[in-house]
Point group: C2
Chain length 324, copies 2
């Protein structure tokens, strides 16, 4: 059965890196794909070029490409939605301006998702501020369940795994139970207290000062380091993480000794304010993502989890007047 | 066993689109990957950013990344080589200047391949003028066999399939035996005389005037149309075609009722001048690509095959003084 995949901001850099992998069948092997590409009206000519290139690939699984500047058209009967497009911070723009500009975009998209998508839709917000953008879309889609919504912290999760493997000189496959808590921002908390490397507790293998003063800030600030090196923000790695997130959610079974990181609508797990879109350790199975509960949380972790929660509360409060 | 994959021009747009698919295992499912990335010295800082993003993806199969501005280092023990980097045409640059600038690059890379790559290496030239760049590399690598070298016409091949499927309103899977002859340039000849659509002869389904006056020039000029629409040349579709080419050559078995298009070192098949790198219909099996011989060629096709051959002779003659 064909999977209907909607991608917003489809002519942007992350979109360009994502679409060809989706069309090649990377989300669900051997499943035919219909791509629904949403862009703002001025970007439609560039989107024509992207569509031409997609067709030129002669991907056997790519059955349909719909291009539109209308969100309901893009989201009609969508199984899977990548909310990639967002307003970037312009010169002189305050954080509050940025939140409000994106609130307008994600309110409209939430309403369109509510009206047009399948009730079983899976949505990932990639465009920043991703968690709060997701919260806004969720608030505007009363007929969809909380479980339809997520925001991406998989990029942070992947970065955290890669950095730990590198430090301990182990293959990626040796790493288990790394997790990201909170906001996809510099307040995110990469937690190694439950992580293992080749069966040994991660924090028994690395120095505590390195963990606190090097590892945590480097994972938090990795996006800025990429911009400095590339002269452009992460595109292919963000697209790859979005694909990992959705593939594992849609079709994956997380091993019992491992976790993934996904920002989801909190129902109060770990005493986080319900309704916030907060990154938790999760396991996926049968198309559902479930928070891994009852992990012991020490004071060090609790303080960082709460700091990121506090930032999310402030983001929500900054746009509260725009919520339904 | 790990596959050693070298990519030149690795920090460029095609490289950026190619590397993440290679690292995800798209060339050979479940085979560990070592990436060897070659760039000119001024591009090494940008390549640092690409490497950071590759590591941030936590690709399970990606075991090693080597970055270098030294071709022998990049090609050491290479199994597979993507020659993507090339000198683009600058303002006021004549065709002859372009050929000579690239001759310098591909002479050096040919020597490095000869010195360092595995004798079983598979090489694809993607950077333009791809066929003649490949010829130059080949001439500088006396210890490697002709069969190690190829240039990419798979992008043209894929475009030709997609355009025929679109015109006849059939799925891509219904198309067989489309083939590209000659140079990866505007003289290429997309040949439908042997092609079928859902079992029917392609030329019985489309108007001859459309084939000659619309289809052929549109396939030949597709690259320019992409540039016009995107404001940038084909990157993701070129990368995808390079991947298709190498995956099918490395591991594929072409069906007996179909062909692929690859530019290879001619040994005189179809009366083409031996030694030219010329696109033929091929089938791949067991890691080898074999020209499909004895197809009947009518006068219309012969004239176009010769026109593209003539262009390749002129390109070769323009750089002959630089060949060993």
């Amino acid at each position: 059965m064909t999977i209907n995949i909607a991608v917003t901001g489809a002519a942007g850099q992350i979109g360009y890196a994502l679409l060809f992998r989706l069309a090649s069948g990377a989300l669900a092997a051997n499943q035919p794909v219909s791509l629904r590409l949403l862009e703002v009206t001025p970007a439609l000519p560039a989107l024509d070029g992207v569509e031409m290139e997609l067709r030129d690939c002669a991907f056997p699984l790519l059955r349909e490409i719909i291009k539109t500047d209308d969100a309901e058209t893009a989201f009609a009967d969508a199984d899977v939605v990548f909310l990639v497009g967002a307003r970037p911070r312009g010169p002189g723009m305050e954080r509050k301006d940025l939140l409000e500009a994106n609130a307008a975009i994600f309110s409209a998209q939430g309403k369109a998702l509510n009206a047009a998508a399948k009730k079983t839709v899976k949505i990932i917000a990639v465009g920043n501020p991703a968690n709060t953008n997701c919260l806004i879309a969720r608030a505007n889609a009363p007929d969809l369940p909380d479980s339809a919504f997520s925001a991406m912290t998989r990029l942070d999760h992947n970065r955290a795994i890669a950095a730990l493997a590198d430090k301990t000189n182990n293959p990626l496959s040796a790493i288990r139970q790394v997790m990201i808590w909170g906001n996809h921002s510099a307040t995110q908390y990469p937690d190694l207290h439950h992580a293992s490397v080749a069966g040994a507790a991660a924090l028994s293998l690395v120095d505590e000062a390195w963990y606190q003063n090097t590892y945590i800030p480097e994972v938090q600030q990795r996006g800025a380091a990429i911009i400095k090196a590339r002269g452009a923000s992460s595109a292919a790695s963000a697209a790859s993480a979005a694909l990992d997130h959705m593939r594992d959610w849609h079709n994956g079974e997380t091993a019992a000794d491992d976790v993934l990181s996904m920002a989801i609508v909190s129902s109060g797990q770990y005493d986080i304010s319900p309704g916030l879109v907060y990154s938790y350790p999760v396991r996926t199975s049968g198309g559902a993502a479930t928070v891994v509960e009852n992990l012991p949380i020490n004071d060090f972790s609790r303080a960082r989890m709460q700091a990121s929660e506090q930032e999310l509360i402030e983001e929500r409060d900054a746009v509260r007047h725009l919520l339904p």
